[in-house]
C-alpha cells in the first residue's frame, strides 16, 4: 500500500519520543523527592520486626550499586534507559521476589480484553447511532436520544461504574459486585469459568461502553451534518443511488475519518478512565494492580505500570496511524 517513508518515519519518531518521555519522567520525577523507597520499606519492615523475604537485601544492594548516589546522574540515567529498552522493570517491592514484569504480565490480559472489547463496541455503537441521528431520512424520534447521550458522555466512567454497582449488583443482585471471577473457581478454559468471567466483566464493560458511546455518537452526529452538506452527497443522490448506499458508502464512510483520528487521540483518556473503573470493581487488570501498588507504596511497580501503559498507548496509536492511510487515500499526499 501507499506508505511514504516520510510519513512512517514521522510516526515512528513520535512513538520513540513517547516511550522516551515516559521513561524519562519515570526516572526524574522520583528524584525530585528525597524519599528512598527501598530504605523506607526496609525500615518499615524492620520497625515492625516483620519478615524480609530472602534475597531482598541483595536486591536492594544490587539496586543501590546500579543507581546509587555515588554514580553521576547521567550514568544512572543511561543504566536506567538500558533497562527500560530491555523492558527490565525491576522487582516489585511488595511482592518480592516477583518482578514487575511478571505482575504486569498477569494483569495485562484482563485489561486488554476489557478495553479492546468495550472500546470497539462503544465506537461501533456510538458511531452508528450518531450517524443515524444525523441522517436526514431517519425518523425524528431519534433526536430524543441526543440529551441522554450528551449526559452520558459528560459523566466519567467510574462514576457510572459506582451507580451501576449500587443498582445492578447491590440492590437487584443481578451480577457480582466485583472481581474477575468467583472465589473458589480455578481458572481454566472450561465453559463454566468463561461464563463466570463474563458475568464479572459485564458491569465494568457496561460502564465503559455506556459512558463512551455518547461521545462517539455526538462526534459522529456533528461530522454527518457537515458531510451531508458536501457537494458529493448532492451529486451522489442525483446519480439515483439507493439510500442505503448513500448512507454507508458516501456519508458514513467520509464522516468516519475524523472519528478514527478521534479514537487514536482519545486512547489515553479511555485508558485513564478504565484504570479507575477497574479499581471500582476490583477487576484483576492493570488498573487495580496500579491502585494496589499505590496503596503499598510499591514504587517500582507504579513506575513500571505507568511506563508499560504509555508504551502500549504509543504502540496502539502507531498502529492506528498505519491503518488510517488505508481508510483515506488522500493521506499519503499530505
Amino acid at each position: 500500500m501507499r506508505y511514504p517513508p516520510a510519513f512512517v518515519l514521522k510516526r515512528l519518531i513520535l512513538l520513540l519520543m513517547i516511550v522516551w518521555t515516559a521513561a524519562t519522567l519515570n526516572f526524574f520525577i522520583p528524584k525530585l523527592t528525597p524519599r528512598n523507597p527501598l530504605r523506607e520499606k526496609l525500615l518499615e519492615d524492620a520497625s515492625r520486626g516483620g519478615y524480609i523475604p530472602p534475597g531482598f537485601n541483595e536486591m536492594v544492594q544490587g539496586y543501590e550499586k546500579k543507581f546509587g548516589l555515588d554514580q553521576p546522574v547521567w550514568k544512572q540515567y543511561l543504566t536506567y534507559m538500558g533497562d527500560m529498552a530491555r523492558f527490565d522493570l525491576g522487582y516489585s517491592i511488595s511482592n518480592f521476589p516477583k518482578t514487575v514484569g511478571e505482575l504486569i504480565g498477569e494483569a495485562i490480559p484482563w485489561t486488554i480484553g476489557l478495553l479492546t472489547v468495550t472500546t470497539a463496541l462503544a465506537f461501533l455503537i456510538g458511531t452508528l447511532l450518531g450517524a443515524l441521528i444525523a441522517w436526514s431520512r431517519s425518523p425524528s424520534w431519534l433526536n430524543y436520544l441526543v440529551a441522554p447521550l450528551l449526559t452520558l458522555s459528560a459523566i466519567p466512567f467510574y462514576l457510572l461504574a459506582l451507580i451501576l454497582i449500587y443498582f445492578v449488583a447491590f440492590q437487584w443482585k443481578l451480577l457480582p459486585l466485583g472481581g474477575g471471577y468467583s472465589f473458589g473457581i480455578v481458572p481454566s478454559f472450561s465453559a463454566a469459568f468463561i461464563f463466570d468471567v463474563m458475568k464479572h466483566a459485564i458491569l465494568p464493560a457496561l460502564s465503559i461502553i455506556l459512558a463512551s458511546t455518547g461521545g462517539w455518537a455526538i462526534g459522529m452526529r456533528g461530522m454527518m451534518v457537515t458531510v451531508q452538506g458536501e457537494d458529493y452527497m448532492t451529486f451522489a443522490e442525483a446519480k439515483g443511488l439507493k439510500p442505503r448506499r448513500l448512507f454507508f458508502r458516501y456519508a458514513v464512510r467520509n464522516a468516519l475519518l475524523p472519528q478514527v483520528t478521534g479514537l487514536a487521540l482519545s486512547l489515553s483518556f479511555i485508558v485513564s478512565g478504565s484504570v479507575l473503573v477497574e479499581l471500582v470493581f476490583g477487576f484483576p487488570g492493570i488498573g487495580t494492580l496500579l491502585a494496589r501498588s499505590v496503596g503499598q507504596l510499591d514504587y517500582f511497580l507504579i513506575y513500571g505500570i505507568v511506563f508499560i501503559i504509555i508504551v502500549a498507548i504509543g504502540v496502539a496509536m502507531f498502529i492506528m496511524d498505519m491503518i488510517y492511510p488505508l481508510l483515506d487515500p488522500r493521506i499519503s499526499y499530505e
Partner: protein, 325 residues
C-alpha cells in the same frame, strides 16, 4: 396527458422553503418545455431559483423545501407525483446531473470506477461485472479520459479531469435529460471551453436534451438553442438565442444583454443596479418593478403572465401586455 414531442414539460411549478425567518418562494409558477435533443440555457443571478428548479426536476427538494404545486412531466410521467423510490429510479438514468462544484462532487474516498459502477448497480440494469467495466471504459473514453483514470481517486485528478469524470457519470446511462448546473464555473477559460465542447459533442451523440444553468451569457450564446431567463423565482423570458440576443423583450433581459462587455464600448461597465430580492410572499405585482427603468403603473398592481408576444419568444412583462387589459 403529454403534448407529444416534448421530453420534459414543467408546468406552473411552485417551490417554497419554509424557514424560521419565514417562507421563501424559490420557484413561482415556472413553466417551460424541452424537446428531445434540445439545448436550453437557464440564466439568472444567484438566488434567482435556477438551482432550485434543477433540484425540483431531479426530485431532490428536501425539507424545509417543498414543491407547493405544479407538474413536471418527463414524457408520460408526472415526476411530482412519483413516490421516492420511483423518482430515484429516474435520477441518474433518465434525468442526470452534471454538478456545479466539480472540485468536491466526487466521493474523495472511492475510485472513479466505483463511482461510475455504483449507479449502474443501484439502477438494477442487470449487467455483469465485465459489461459494467466495459461501460466504464466507454464512458471515460467518451469524455476523453484515459481508461487508467478508472483506478484513480479524485484527489489524483486535475479540476478539468474531475469535471470530465462527473460528465462520464452523468452520461453513463444514456439519460434523456441532462441538467448541467454551471458545469464550468470552477474551471479556467481554456478547460471551460474543452469541457463544453465535450458536453455538446456527447449530447448530440446521445440525443439527450440539455438544460445548461449558468450566468455566463457568452457561454450561453455559443452553446444553447433557447434561453430561459429567471428572476426572483420566476421565468421572465424564454426564446431562441438569436431572438433573445438581438431583440430581448423583458427589461431585465435587456439589461443582462447590455451588461455584456463588448469591444466597442470598452472601459464602460454596465451593471444592473440593485439586487435580486428573495420572494417572501406570493407576489401580487411584477417582481422586477423596483429595479425596472421602464416600469409603468400596472407593474405595481398586477403580476405579468408569461405570454408568447412574438413567435416562439415569451416574456412576462406588462409592456407588451397592455393591449389585452
Amino acid at each position: 396527458m403529454n403534448d407529444n414531442g416534448y421530453v420534459l414539460r414543467v408546468e406552473n411549478l411552485d417551490v417554497q422553503y419554509h424557514t424560521d425567518a419565514g417562507t421563501v418562494y424559490a420557484n413561482s409558477q415556472v413553466s417551460f418545455n424541452l424537446k428531445p435533443g434540445e439545448r436550453l440555457g437557464l440564466v439568472g443571478e444567484s438566488g434567482s431559483g435556477k438551482s432550485t428548479l434543477a433540484l425540483a426536476i431531479l426530485g431532490m427538494i428536501k425539507p424545509p423545501g417543498r414543491i407547493g404545486g405544479g407538474e413536471i412531466w418527463l414524457e408520460n410521467t408526472d415526476l411530482v407525483k412519483l413516490p421516492e423510490e420511483a423518482i430515484r429510479q429516474v435520477r441518474g438514468r433518465q434525468v442526470s446531473m452534471i454538478p456545479q462544484g466539480a472540485m468536491n462532487s466526487l466521493n474523495p474516498v472511492a475510485r472513479i470506477k466505483d463511482q461510475l459502477i455504483d449507479g449502474m448497480i443501484d439502477h438494477e440494469l442487470g449487467l455483469s461485472r465485465s459489461e459494467m467495466n466495459r461501460m466504464v471504459r466507454e464512458a471515460l473514453e467518451a469524455v476523453e479520459l484515459d481508461p487508467q483514470v478508472a483506478q484513480m481517486y479524485p484527489h489524483e485528478l486535475s479540476g478539468g479531469m474531475k469535471q470530465r469524470a462527473c460528465i462520464a457519470i452523468a452520461i453513463a446511462m444514456n439519460p434523456k435529460v441532462i441538467i448541467a448546473d454551471e458545469p464550468t464555473s470552477a474551471l479556467d477559460v481554456v478547460t471551460q471551453r474543452q469541457v463544453m465542447q465535450t458536453i455538446g459533442h456527447l449530447q448530440a451523440q446521445l440525443g439527450s436534451a440539455v438544460i445548461l444553468i449558468g450566468h455566463d451569457m457568452g457561454l450561453m450564446a455559443q452553446f444553447v438553442d433557447r434561453i430561459a431567463v429567471m428572476y426572483a423565482g420566476k421565468l421572465v423570458e424564454l426564446g431562441s438565442v438569436k431572438d433573445t440576443f438581438t431583440h430581448p423583450m423583458h427589461p431585465y433581459t435587456q439589461m443582462l444583454i447590455s451588461s455584456l462587455p463588448r469591444l466597442e464600448n470598452k472601459g464602460t461597465f454596465n451593471g444592473i443596479p440593485g439586487i435580486t430580492p428573495l420572494l417572501r410572499e406570493i407576489p401580487t405585482d411584477c417582481v422586477f418593478n423596483s429595479r425596472c427603468p421602464q416600469a409603468i403603473p400596472i407593474c405595481m398592481q398586477r403580476v405579468p403572465k408569461l405570454l408568447e408576444h412574438r413567435p416562439n419568444q415569451w416574456a412576462a412583462c406588462h409592456l407588451y401586455q397592455s393591449e389585452e387589459n
